[in-house]
Symmetry: C2
Subunit: 338 residues, 2 copies
């Protein structure tokens, strides 16, 4: 086991849980209760598999998805014990996808800690991810069948999105529609279900739950477009992580698709040659083209549009501290540099 570096971010139970620019103040105690549901569900597996389960504590990040469930609930009505379970379930599904993603990407570290695959190998990572998926559905069955259906359908979309992304890796002719179909699944399906479930179990009417689903979905889309942009044009020292991995894996993202559509066919083919190459200065060469074609500005505008739709959906809620935080989360999703 590799020792952990000193925490770089505010901590909850000794675990870094959010960037300093984001505060989940009014629901921090509820996030902690959701954490307990998460830990308790895995407790029976601790004895034989203790170090593995322990390692999961370090594997998770800012608890954005549990926070979305709980903030939406409190902003739309009130938090119930169903929310703690649902917040734990979405975090389990998210963690499962991270554990499997790290196998897919052969990643060695995540959030300054060695990945499960680096430490225990791919086999254990695959099975641990499976276990997390299964546990997520099991704990959801303690809520009701409607929650099982929504969580199941969201997870189907996540898996289908990831599957399409892997199938399309290296397809330098990916359309914008296909790109959006991929991120709608892999990212937005889960944030959508967070908003929906948060409202649905808070006592709010069905129409508010629909609005919160719209909020969550568009927040996810905004977040992912901004994330993809960061990978292409962000500053590594500010981000504190390696960028350009999408380029390395020939994963097509919005600015690239826009540039290829904008350029005359001959120039587009030249850009594709650059994308296929393994040049050391590939990232800066690509960035120069993206600046010329206005593709960075285009992608940023699209992210801002999604964020605007998300913010508009929040307007059906009465003004409250939690609603304001949800507005901040939306801003943060497109402004963050890491």
């Amino acid at each position: 086991m590799t020792a952990l570096p000193p925490a770089l971010e505010p901590t909850l139970n000794g675990i870094a849980y959010r960037p300093a620019s984001l505060s989940f103040g009014p629901v921090v105690a509820d996030i902690e209760l959701a954490e307990r549901v998460f830990t308790t569900a895995l407790a029976p597996y601790r004895t034989p598999l203790a170090p593995l389960m322990q390692h999961l504590r370090h594997y998770r990040g800012k608890r954005l998805r549990p926070a979305l469930v709980l903030l939406t609930a409190k902003a739309a009505g009130s938090i119930t014990s169903a929310h703690h379970t649902l917040a734990a379930a979405v975090e389990m599904i998210h963690t499962a996808t991270l554990v499997h993603d790290d196998v897919l990407d052969e990643a060695e570290t995540r959030r300054h800690v060695r990945t499960v695959n680096a430490e225990w190998g791919n086999k254990i990572s695959i099975l641990l991810g499976d276990m997390l998926f299964s546990q997520a559905f099991t704990i959801t069955s303690a809520v009701d069948v409607r929650a099982c259906k929504f969580i199941g359908e969201a997870t189907n979309r996540v898996c289908a999105g990831e599957l399409r992304q892997v199938c399309e890796r290296g397809n330098l002719h990916l359309s914008e529609a296909d790109y959006f179909a991929i991120i709608d699944g892999k990212t937005a399906a889960l944030t959508e279900v967070c908003g929906r479930l948060g409202a649905l179990y808070s006592g709010a009417p069905e129409s508010v739950a629909e609005q919160m689903a719209t909020f969550g979905r568009n927040l996810g889309l905004a977040f992912q477009v901004a994330d993809d942009l960061l990978d292409l044009t962000g500053d590594e020292t500010k981000a504190g992580k390696t960028l350009g991995t999408d380029l390395e894996q020939q994963k097509m993202t919005l600015p690239l698709i826009h540039a290829l559509n904008k350029l005359p066919e001959r120039d587009a083919e030249e850009l594709r040659d650059v994308l296929r190459s393994t040049d050391a200065d590939k990232r800066s060469n690509v960035a120069a083209v993206l600046a010329e074609t206005g593709s960075v500005i285009y992608a940023r505008r699209r992210a801002e549009e999604f964020a605007r739709v998300a913010r508009t959906a929040l307007e059906c809620l009465p003004r409250s501290e939690c609603r304001t935080i949800l507005e901040h989360v939306t801003e943060w999703s497109i402004r963050r540099e890491k």
Copy 2:
């Protein structure tokens, strides 16, 4: 895509579905309906992922688990549409574990067809397995929350069993209790839930569902002990597949554990040296020791005991063709040579 060899076994919809010695006669039409639920659930993903979804048709075997759900239902009461959904769900979970197992084992063929990982790579296999798990839970949510809970808990046990097995690979001091804990999860949890759900939704009383759970669990244990024995001592030409893979992967099974406990410490250490070696004649050397220590007989007797408990549990059912088939399945589980 590799072309399929001519079917070697009886087929349903052109797919080999059962060994010639097993007949699911009275529920074959219901197995077909469960197949349709399986296929329909994956239909939305066909367009972009068509060849992958198509390939799954060849990936499954004798439809033992759907047959267990349906035979138990018909023997204990009557088959309802819930059973078709549940039969499809357990088959999806089983298929998901097969897809992930083939990644874990780096297997290249399964049932004479190239594995998903051999054809499409590990990444797609991992995500396809995730999708199957997720779909299984989603379709179960169309039944009721109790079904979600039972399917979820069974899948937790499957994953925990597989996880322990991988963690214990190469542990040549594995105890008999640990071995049974592993197979109770990886195999018996799913056959147990098949029996339980079959009875539970057939109109039978709770006490019959408990007996059918006991039947399924012990059938699974009998099946797995016999399967492990086959791997060590079976005839490859009769089995029609490579045997000895447990030995190759240093997976400890019941006859080996028994022999190591039986032998004086020095001889046990010698056997462990053989198990660690990569000798070409490892399998025949081990078989000779197992014969001497009576370990093959011991393991066979244990399998027979589980089969006896399974058969006894069936006695609460009225005599019927389906009950007779369940008795045959129990016999087949310990007598089969492939």
